[in-house]
């Protein structure tokens, strides 16, 4: 599988990028967007590129895009980015028509497609033999859905989506490799609280209230 450095080609003949290079490029332009990441390489590599309490790590395979949709619906004026994987999205493909149906203009759904269940032993996914996730997003009704084939294309697409106000789906073919980055620094419950406190602070809203008094009943 590995050709020993340099750009490789996938089954479409599209050159592949390194995921961490996509994230480094993105980190410069997404500002304080809330970013939801899936299990595996997406989470640790993104956290290394943009450490922030505005990052939320998902542990249920497939639910990255759904959780990002929920945040986007709850905070209509805040940019929300889902960093999905091909295996993850394939497990929750019905998320695409649901997202298309709600059409949140502040949601950016990015799929880093390496054609494999990387964290689960690098077994191939259906995209390795031609299943086209951008095609599926378009067919589901997401009007702005595109492949980014170079780091420059990717950065431009993300930048446009961040500056604009249109639901956007971006696919990027990436190499099957994981960068040497530190492990995720906090556990899931702490991630939840930090994320909520970050939203409260940056949106100036109250989310976690103290319990109602017993006399309420």
């Amino acid at each position: 599988m590995f050709s020993g450095g340099g750009a490789r080609e996938n089954s479409y003949g599209v050159s592949q990028m390194k995921r961490i290079d996509c994230f480094r490029a993105m980190a410069e332009i997404v500002g304080d967007a809330l970013v939801v990441t899936g299990a595996g390489g997406n989470t640790v590599e993104w956290s290394a590129c943009r450490p922030s309490d505005g990052n939320f790590r998902v542990r249920t395979m497939g639910l990255v895009s759904s959780i990002a949709l929920g945040i986007a619906l709850g905070l209509a004026k805040r940019k929300v980015i889902a960093l999905d994987g091909d295996g993850s999205l394939l497990m929750n493909l019905c998320s695409l028509p649901t997202i298309a149906n709600k059409n949140p203009p502040n949601l950016i759904h990015i799929v880093l497609d390496n054609g494999a269940y990387e964290s689960s032993g690098e077994i191939k996914t259906a995209t390795a033999s031609g299943s086209d996730l951008v095609g599926m997003a378009k067919a589901a009704g997401i009007k702005k859905a595109l492949w980014a084939n170079t780091i420059e294309d990717f950065k431009r697409a993300v930048s446009e989506a961040v500056k604009g106000n249109t639901l956007t789906f971006i696919g990027a073919k990436v190499e099957l490799s994981r960068a040497e980055v530190p492990p995720y620094p906090i556990d899931e419950v702490e991630n939840k609280y930090r994320f909520i406190r970050y939203v409260e602070k940056t949106e100036n809203i109250e989310i976690l209230r103290t319990s109602l008094p017993a006399s309420y009943f």
């Binding site: 939801v36 542990r59 249920t60 497939g62 759904s66 929920g70 619906l73 649901t98 939840k192 989310i207």
Partner: protein, 177 residues
């Protein structure tokens, strides 16, 4: 079985939605069942509620989790078959991260229902195994107070809490049922 206060299906649906709104719920994800029809029609047209129609119930677990992180108060309305579809999300998101969520589940296969007896048989055991506190709503007159209390309990417990909606509450479609 005790006598219940009978309401017609639209009135029951109204009582359930009013209960949700009084509890502060403002985002509801749904997947239809014929017995939920009147309730879902009300949810769909209510201007105070963000309604998210689902294609599969587990994505509703994710959507409600995200909305909770963003400050929304959520409910997920589905059939008990949808509960089974949602189990991984319930375990590795709701329970693992301690996310409150009100689950309104149509109790297909309950006593007094037909055709889903196996689905019905597993419903309470599965909820019990997941540690989800479960309340069965048989009297539509109790809908508002039960919904309000279970919503508060879910927030307090920081976990999902389930209400099983029976045919007595949602309305029987033929007199012989």
């Amino acid at each position: 079985m005790r006598t219940v206060s009978m309401l017609d299906a639209p009135s029951s649906a109204r009582a359930i939605l009013d209960g949700l709104k009084e509890a502060g719920v403002n985002l509801i994800a749904t997947l239809p069942d014929i017995n939920l029809r009147d309730l879902l029609k009300l949810v769909e047209t209510d201007r105070d509620i963000i309604h998210v129609p689902l294609c599969r119930e587990e994505e509703g677990i994710g959507i409600c989790t995200g909305a909770h992180l963003a400050g929304k108060k959520c409910a997920l309305i589905m059939q008990n078959g949808g509960l089974y579809n949602s189990v991984n999300g319930i375990v590795s998101t709701l329970l693992h991260y301690q996310i409150p969520l009100l689950l309104l589940i149509y109790y297909a296969g309950d006593v007094g229902d037909r055709n889903f007896s196996t689905t019905g048989a597993m419903t309470e055991p599965v909820l019990h195994a997941l540690g989800i506190r479960t309340y069965i709503l048989r009297d539509p007159g109790e809908a508002k107070v039960l919904i309000r209390r279970t919503h508060v309990l879910a927030q307090d417990y920081r976990r999902p809490v389930a209400i099983l909606l029976t045919k007595d509450v949602l309305g029987r479609r033929s007199p012989g049922e």
